[in-house]
């Protein structure tokens, strides 16, 4: 059995073989494989007795359930108003310059994907970015290299 199918099997046995488990299972696959491949979604559909269109339809609705290949680490920079006021554009540019990618792209070594995000809930400490689940409030563009080095 392929690794992806094994992973799905493990996740389904952990969360239960019901439709209510669909999101936790999708989240578990993204955590391990960084995105939801067709193989993963077909395996999930089979395990939960759903159609693969149903699984894809649900997965594609949620921002954090990536259906396109992504880097090992996902950087999300908050683009909402107060972070914009506090200089989110300079943060994005610093990341783009360092990783040699544009917003929405993945670095050549597949280590990072840079995304803009809607409100991350740190409006008093903008600009803010998430790297995976780690929060960086008041992020200074000059700190970007040091921060990202931690994930290499």
């Amino acid at each position: 059995m392929a690794d992806t199918e094994k992973l799905v099997e493990q996740l389904v046995s952990k969360h239960g073989k019901t439709r209510n488990s669909l999101l936790p299972v999708l989240q578990g696959v993204v955590q391990e494989e960084h995105f939801l491949s067709d193989t993963a979604m077909i395996a999930i559909a089979k395990a939960l007795n759903l159609s693969s269109a149903d699984v894809y339809g649900t997965a594609s609705f949620y921002t954090f359930l990536e259906t396109e290949p992504r880097g090992e680490n996902i950087i999300r920079v908050c683009k909402t108003i107060t972070c914009k006021m506090k200089g989110k554009q300079r943060v994005i540019e610093a990341i783009e310059n360092h990783l040699k990618i544009k917003e929405g792209e993945t670095s050549r070594n597949k280590k990072f994907t840079l995304l803009a995000a809607n409100c991350l809930g740190w409006c008093h400490k903008g600009p803010v970015m998430l790297v995976n689940d780690d929060v960086y409030p008041h992020v200074d563009p000059d700190q970007i290299v040091n921060i990202l080095d931690k994930y290499c």
């Binding site: 989240q27 954090f64 995000a117 809607n118 409006c123 008093h124 689940d133």
Partner: protein
């Protein structure tokens, strides 16, 4: 309307002598009816923004006869400018859990779930440890109730209660038609009380301090205090628990930067208050209610950009299920851009306001319905900034 003077309140973060499990024990000494009537009598309204009377919600769920009932804590806080629930869950999670346990006792529920937005996943480890400890404490005091946690996946719409149920049931987070209301048919079709994080803490505070002390704060329409998330052009950005019922002028005097042009009360889905209306605008249910977001803008800010930002947010976060919201948000963005570029006359803004009114009537849920608030308040009060 008379403004309350700015008063800091420390019910939530600095409450001495309110050990959460002791508060649950206090509730268990009361009858279920007494718990519900205390919350009704307190006048507490939901702190997520909609302001439904919390006690009535509990009463409806209590009166339902069902084998299973749920208590759900809505921690899918996504309104731009709002970050109070994150702070509450980070600093005083046990008080949220005690509110859930008190609700469970009152309505007869054995299962509670916290739906935590995906952006707050960094809280999961700590929260899970707190939940395990709390569940153990509950079983020791004989309350058959346990809380678990579910993580969201980055969809603003899932803060809408029925969209949240859909998400928990493994579907796209699209709002359901109401009725039936959640207290009759919520998560898994069972009677469900779904309360915001802050609301649940206040229920525990009310049981702890007593109804009279809670009612002594705030106004007739807006009882108690409120946790505000203050951001934007302010030297005091952060969390502040204040008495409800003060006017925007007093708020700005305390939190503004001396050059405040406008305050957006209630986040992107709230109202924008210009300087000329600061004094007459009360922050509370008799004026402008808010889930907590207070964004301050000084005179250097372009209100066109602010509005455009809000509209982009709504357009991206619309679930797409109903046409007025899905298409309306896109048309508003194009519309203000056309006016700004001089491709449409300024009168076109009035047509766009009419479009938001249609969206308010025809949209299925609060997202499409509330676009009119920020749109019409910004366009009306800062019309000259919308025009080329």
């Amino acid at each position: 309307m008379v403004s309350k003077k700015l008063q800091r309140v420390d019910f939530i973060f600095d409450c001495a002598g309110c050990e959460p499990i002791e508060v649950v024990k206090k509730a268990l000494k009361m009858t279920r009816e007494e718990v519900v009537s205390s919350i009704i009598e307190s006048g507490l309204k939901g702190r997520g923004g909609a302001g439904f009377p919390t006690g009535m919600k509990w009463k409806f769920a209590k009166d339902e006869v069902a084998d299973t009932k749920y208590v759900i804590c809505n921690a899918d806080e996504g309104e731009p400018g709002t970050f109070k629930d994150r702070e509450i869950l980070d600093v005083v999670p046990n008080k949220v859990l005690s509110g859930m346990a008190i609700c469970a006792y009152a309505i007869g529920s054995k299962e509670g779930i916290i739906y935590l937005r995906g952006e707050y996943n960094f809280l999961l480890k700590k929260l899970n440890a707190q939940i395990d400890e709390f569940n153990n404490s509950l079983s020791k005091i004989g309350l058959d109730f346990a809380v678990s946690i579910r993580s969201g996946s980055g969809a603003y719409i899932c803060g809408e209660e029925t969209a949240l149920f859909e998400s928990m049931e493994g579907r796209r987070g699209e709002p359901r038609n109401k009725p039936p209301f959640p207290t009759k048919s919520g998560y898994n079709g069972k009677p469900t009380v779904i309360n915001n994080v802050e609301t649940l803490v206040y229920t525990a505070m009310i049981i702890n301090m007593g109804v009279d002390e809670f009612k002594a704060v705030g106004t007739m329409d807006s009882r108690g205090s409120k946790v505000f998330s203050v951001s934007g052009d302010t030297p005091k950005a952060g969390i502040h628990e204040l008495e409800l019922g003060l006017n925007v002028a007093d708020f700005v005097e305390e939190f503004g930067d001396g050059d405040t042009k406008a305050v957006q009360v209630g986040g992107a889905s709230g109202h924008c208050v210009p300087r000329k209306l600061f004094k007459e605008t009360i922050i509370g249910f008799e004026g402008i209610p808010t889930g907590g977001s207070m964004m301050i803008f000084n005179s250097t800010r372009s209100m066109f950009n602010v509005l455009n930002d809000y509209l982009e947010f709504f357009a991206e976060e619309s679930c797409g299920q109903c046409t007025p919201c899905r298409i309306g948000t896109q048309q508003l963005i194009k519309g203000i851009e056309h006016v700004k570029k001089g491709q449409m006359p300024s009168e076109y803004l009035d047509q766009l306001i009419k479009l938001t009114e249609t969206m308010k009537i025809a949209s299925k849920c609060g997202l499409g319905q509330s676009v009119a608030n920020s749109f019409s308040s910004i366009v009306t009060n800062f019309r000259e900034e919308m025009i080329y």
